[in-house]
Amino acid sequence: MDFKLKIWRQKNREDKGRFVAYEVKNISPDASFLEMLDVLNTELVKKGEEPVAFDHDCREGICGSCGMVIGGRMHGPGKGSATCELRMRVFKDGDTIVVEPWRAKPFPVIKDLVVDRTALDRIMQAGGYISAKTGAVPEANAIPVPKPYAEEAMDAAACIGCGACVAACPNSSAMLFVAAKVSHLALLPQGKIERTERVLRMIEQMDEEGFGNCSNSYACEAECPKKISVTHIARLNREFLRAEVT
């Protein structure tokens, strides 16, 4: 398959950036989107040009490194997959594909398609954990968890921290990301003890990082590669209200 690409190139944080047009030919429909970019990059390097920088690592949809806006969609067309899982067979031969980095103020561009998502780490550091010191814990089966709760906690815990929800949101809100963690821990008996402080501190940090508010557009859920449900945002709101009154 052949494609025309319009890719965002930006030298560094300060550079203004612009779209550059490229063409790739003879791409297998079974190739992944990133493998198609590999082909382009090899050609660029051969010509002595700088390849397109993008974050990636596991290439199986679990590490959360990859992420770009492809044809206006986070992680490209289709539902429930990260950029690295996207296969070229979903495009039509001859398509023009526009590729951009996540666009959100709290995620400054480092180079080309690589953005800085450390704001998400700082939110986690503010309270996204249960304070269980190594060794100072009870026997595992001393904490039974009803299966439905464990399952729902797992649904939330599947978040890969890619930031697509933020990029998809008109307000650059990180609510889905924060909700996934708050919900995961609030559903478990182990997480109940620190629930008040946790939600307050995470929300405070989220605001401090410059993420916007949730206005219920639900673009986050639609673009999340792990199909994290907005019902977790509802739980986050309940947790937050509960914390504010206590």
């Binding site: 990636h56 596991c58 949809g61 679990i62 296969r87 780490d121 249960i130 968890v145």
Partner: protein, 637 residues
């Protein structure tokens, strides 16, 4: 070089307890005066850094990723072992110990393996307390499943994302310590050398991957938790950035490399489909619990799998190994798959695949049960292959997945460089010649949560530390060497990319140092690798600058190291005139095609010493003795 394993005496069940008591302690008030560097934030690194931070040490942790949570442990699917005996099926610490020593084909240190089994229960306790959402049954208690190489149900799991959930647990503990100020995290930094002062590891040299700055950091001890070297083969299930640079450069500075030829080929991966392919995707071997492996009985049968009747299928693992069936260990399953394909029974467009069929399990248990157990794996397979595994059997083929070899460490997890500790997959320790399923996560977390925090304390409490600062000449010198290498890589300005050299090296390794090895092939590899390395240093092309985010430059440095490590792996494979675990020498097999060990001559750890690039490495041996699990032919029949 002398290898002192420091294995404590006494009965095996008491060794770790006694040893722990004998370890010197650092006075709590003094802990923050000690700086410990931890490189890598996977399971081993994150758990070590978090635990050391909790103890009060001043911890500096480094990753080439933007966030600690991106480390490759995140991709582990299947599960983590612990002999809790929740299934009441007769499991015990001793049985896990026994299974692991046997599974490793009697090439691991008994005392280490026993300790691993002993602390594994605490890992589950720890992870549950952190909020890891392990699978549970309807009572609310933890659920278990069985895994290759074991006849008991001792594997804890979180859907097909166990590695992710355990890593996020360790990451949360690490985040808590970063917040508390005991751990400082340095993102997008790649370690390019270790700095020795008077023979002790006292710091590291890193490159800031965004600005290109070469920086040095000083400490009292350095911990490498940098993972395995499976990407040596180019195509593997490893993440793209996984590399051997940290351990290789430490090796060149004096750390012995243990059993480099013990590499693991995982039996259930999605087969390669084209030249453009950048990596292979693993399907957790937990699938072998419910999936049945088969090939057509007729050679070159091109019918669709569903139109091949039952009696014309060869469920070869069930046929050859009636008691373990589809659950034989990885090395056995991989070799048999290769053999089937070599003999012309392979399926799919390339003929390099076998079927993994769930039709029976779906009939027996219902689709929803299979979906609950393996839903995300099935989705992943569907996405990649465009085939629905609920309807057609999966096609699978073995791929490089894990490296049992790594830097040699003593019982305290310290390498042959004083002050340089190595944890997780980066060390050679507990898996011998073959790792059992669901044991990697166990080892990484055992090292990081429950072993290293004690043993490093003993070193810090007893070693002498002359002042060492990042401005000292020894640091400046190491920094200068790294800068020179970076400059050299950029200045060659040849024609071939690092990726092309990597692919070429991968082909040599897979062909001659892969699943089946023989003398002739290994010798061939030993002439081809140095030649390729020479071409690399003459014809490499790296574009862009050294003062910028430059993936080409990063790759080039890693490939340069692989080109040296590959030779060591081939040397080790050539010298080990026996077959054991993942190391299969075609000259040494039984009449039935099983691996034939040579305990008389090779019951030792080969700990190689670096002698210079292109020079024959120096072999040191740590003899292995088996007091408890007597070596026997590993039989899974």
């Amino acid at each position: 070089m002398t290898l002192e394993s420091k294995t404590p005496g006494g009965p095996i069940e008491k060794k770790w307890q006694t040893h722990r008591f004998n370890l010197k302690l650092v006075n709590p008030a003094n802990k923050r005066k000690y700086t410990v560097i931890v490189v890598g934030t996977g399971l081993a690194g994150a758990s070590a850094a978090a635990s050391l931070g909790e103890l009060g040490y001043n911890v500096l942790t480094f990753s080439y990723h933007e966030s600690p949570r991106r480390a490759h442990s995140i991709a582990a699917q299947g599960g983590i072992n612990a002999p809790k005996n929740y299934a009441n099926d007769g499991d015990s610490v001793y049985r896990l110990f026994y299974d692991t020593v046997k599974g490793g084909d009697y090439r691991a240190r008994e005392a280490n393996v026993y300790r691993l089994a002993e602390v594994s229960g605490s890992i589950i306790d720890q992870c549950v307390a952190q909020g890891v959402p392990f699978a549970r049954d309807y009572s609310g208690y933890l659920d278990n499943r069985s895994f290759g190489g074991a006849q008991v149900s001792r594997t804890f799991y979180a859907r097909g994302q166990t590695g992710q959930q355990l890593l996020l647990g360790a990451y949360s503990a690490l985040s808590r310590q970063i917040q508390a100020g005991t751990v400082k995290f340095f993102q997008r930094r790649e370690m390019l050398d270790v700095v020795l002062v008077d023979g002790q590891a006292r710091g590291i040299v890193v490159r800031d991957l965004v600005t290109g700055a070469i920086e040095t950091y000083a400490a009292n001890g350095v911990v490498l938790a940098t993972g395995g070297y499976g990407n040596l083969f180019y195509l593997s299930t490893m993440a793209k950035a996984s590399n051997a640079t940290a351990i290789w450069r430490a090796h060149k500075k004096g750390a012995a490399f243990g059993n480099p030829c013990f590499t693991q080929i995982h039996p259930t991966c999605i087969p390669q489909s084209g030249e453009y392919q950048s990596k292979l995707t693993l399907m957790s071997e937990s699938l072998r619990n419910d999936g049945r492996i088969w090939v057509p009985k007729k050679k070159g049968d091109t019918r669709r799998p569903e139109s091949i009747p039952e009696e014309e299928r060869d469920y070869y693992l069930e046929r050859i190994y009636p008691s373990f069936g589809n659950l034989v260990p990885r090395d056995v399953a991989s070799r048999r798959a290769k053999e089937m394909c070599d003999n012309g029974f392979g399926v799919g467009p390339t003929g390099r695949a076998v079927y993994l069929d769930f039709a029976d399990a779906i009939n027996r248990l219902g689709k929803h049960v299979i979906e609950e157990r393996y839903g995300n794996l099935f989705d992943m397979y569907h996405e990649i292959s465009a085939e629905d595994p609920y309807k057609v059997p999966m096609r699978i083929y073995p791929a490089v997945h894990y490296t049992m070899g790594g830097l040699w460490v003593d019982y305290n997890l310290m390498s042959t460089i004083p002050g340089l500790f190595v944890v997780g997959e980066a060390n050679f320790s507990d898996h011998g010649a073959n790792r059992l399923g669901a044991s990697a996560l166990m080892q990484g977390l055992a090292d990081g949560y429950f072993i290293l925090p004690y043993t490093i304390g003993d070193y810090l409490a007893t070693a002498k530390f002359p002042p060492a600062k990042a401005e000292d000449p020894s640091f400046k010198q190491a920094q200068g060497e790294v800068e020179a290498m970076v400059k050299k890589l950029i200045s060659i300005q040849g024609k071939r990319t690092a990726e092309e050299f990597h692919k070429e090296l991968g082909r040599i390794m897979w062909e001659y140092v892969g699943m089946g090895r023989n003398k002739e092939g290994l010798q061939k590899a030993l002439t081809m690798i140095p030649r390729l390395r020479e071409e690399f240093w003459q014809d490499l092309k790296v574009v862009g600058s050294a003062n910028d985010l430059n993936a080409e430059l990063e790759k080039a440095g890693r490939v340069a190291d692989f080109l040296e490590l590959g030779e060591l792996v081939a040397h080790d494979a050539l010298h080990r005139e026996e077959s054991c675990g993942g190391h299969f020498r075609e000259e040494h097999q039984t009449e039935e095609g099983e691996a034939k060990r040579n305990d008389k001559e090779f019951s030792y750890v080969a700990a190689w010493e670096f002698a210079g690039v292109g020079k024959h490495p120096i072999l040191n041996k740590e003899p292995l003795t088996f007091e408890y699990v007597k070596p026997s032919e590993r039989s899974y029949k």
